[in-house]
Symmetry: C2
């Protein structure tokens, strides 16, 4: 039986993780109010193929390693991230030549967290990992319309990523966009306590449009707390939390 089994083709299996967060964009002279944007985490490749290019945090699955554990391990090893929400996105293997080294099936994952939570671990992050603003020249998330602007060095704007990683990022954005209205996905991008405005911003960034009457639309999903923002910069705002299922 073992012998029969070994006649099957074997291939390399990898995990690619799209880590998404939101952050305040730098204030310009024209804007008085901080504007939020979406960011994705990229790493600079230190080996061929695409050596020196930017890619998603990724790596090969060990023979005895659960898929999800591999995704977590790569986030730990490559970017110092731990304890972050992860979900499987899609498996990439219809293009048999997506990796010139040989047949590689990649299991895509989405990781979501508020920026504050990710910053806690930043000292452990690899020097080669960087946040990039996600910019789109279209109202939809389309792979060939995406570009990425380095947060650390705004002179760096890239449109071409290693492998099919730009397509994977577009798929991740579309997945979250398509499910954000009827699942709890959006809550992973805000802290446990949040203002309605903060949550609305997350939804609007991912949907790429305004959401009218947001408070009413989300009413079933959020619950008031007795906490308020400190009101140093603005009028104090009530903090909410996610309503847990009964």
């Amino acid at each position: 039986m073992k012998r029969d089994f070994s006649t099957h083709d074997r291939m390399s299996v990898a995990t690619d993780v799209v880590v998404l967060t939101t952050d305040n964009k730098p204030l310009t002279n024209n804007r008085k109010v901080a504007e939020k944007g979406l960011q994705v985490l990229l790493v600079k490749r230190d080996e061929e193929p695409y050596k020196g290019g930017w890619a998603l945090p990724a790596g090969f699955v060990n023979y005895d390693e659960p898929l999800l554990e591999c995704a977590k391990r790569k986030l730990r090893e490559k970017v110092g991230l731990d304890d972050i929400y992860l979900e499987q996105l899609y498996s990439y293997g219809d293009d048999v030549n997506r990796d010139i080294r040989g047949r590689v099936i990649s299991i895509g994952y989405i990781a979501l967290a508020p920026k504050e939570k990710i910053l806690l671990n930043s000292e452990r992050a690899s020097k080669e990992a960087e946040w990039f603003w996600i910019e789109s020249s279209a109202s939809q998330w389309e792979s060939d319309k995406l570009s990425f602007l380095s947060v650390k060095d705004p002179s760096v704007r890239i449109t071409s990523l290693a492998f099919d990683h730009r397509m994977i990022i577009a798929d991740a954005l579309n997945r979250i966009k398509n499910k954000i209205m009827y699942t709890d996905a959006g809550f992973h991008l805000v802290n446990e306590l949040f203002t309605v405005k903060e949550l609305q911003t997350v939804y609007e960034l991912l949907l790429g449009r305004e959401v009218q009457a947001f408070r009413r639309v989300l009413n079933d999903k959020i619950i008031e707390t007795d906490h308020w923002t400190d009101g140093k910069a603005h009028r104090p705002a009530r903090l909410f939390k996610k309503r847990e299922c009964q």
Copy 2:
């Protein structure tokens, strides 16, 4: 570079396909009106492990074969099905021991078609492929609450399938259930022209509940035609078709 790459662990990759359809349940003395139920296609395994047991149509991906092509090939080879709607479900590889022969990552797919369309190809189907009624002892689709009743031989009811295939079927049912209200998934289970009642039955079977004011809920997605059912058994009913995006 080739040498470095070959140091990575390689593993077997398979595709498992959950083929779902609906059909009229056999009339009993108590029922005068045909009632619809959900069916799934299973094949009897002719080799170890689980030899003689029932499993999803499945097979190993060739080194130079796109994932989707493998799923299609296995449906062709094992059950004579061709030209059927397929979508990727999820990739199974968190349980590293899900196949006792070695490490196997399985890419799950969902196939949906109206029974009439599938019957066209039935003469080519393998003798070992059979339709099973999906029955659940709970209102939700839960893996351990599912059982399967042979359409060909109602004395055969099984609860245990090969590998993790019962879990994959539950995942497929939940995936369709969760997306049916906001995607076109349900339309794959009816013919091009359908009555509102037929479409409603598909939705209600998958949701496991009645949908109130179905015609109004689906109004944006369907469009009247000038065709009617022949009205031999019942009053003629207007036929509708899916409204295509503008």
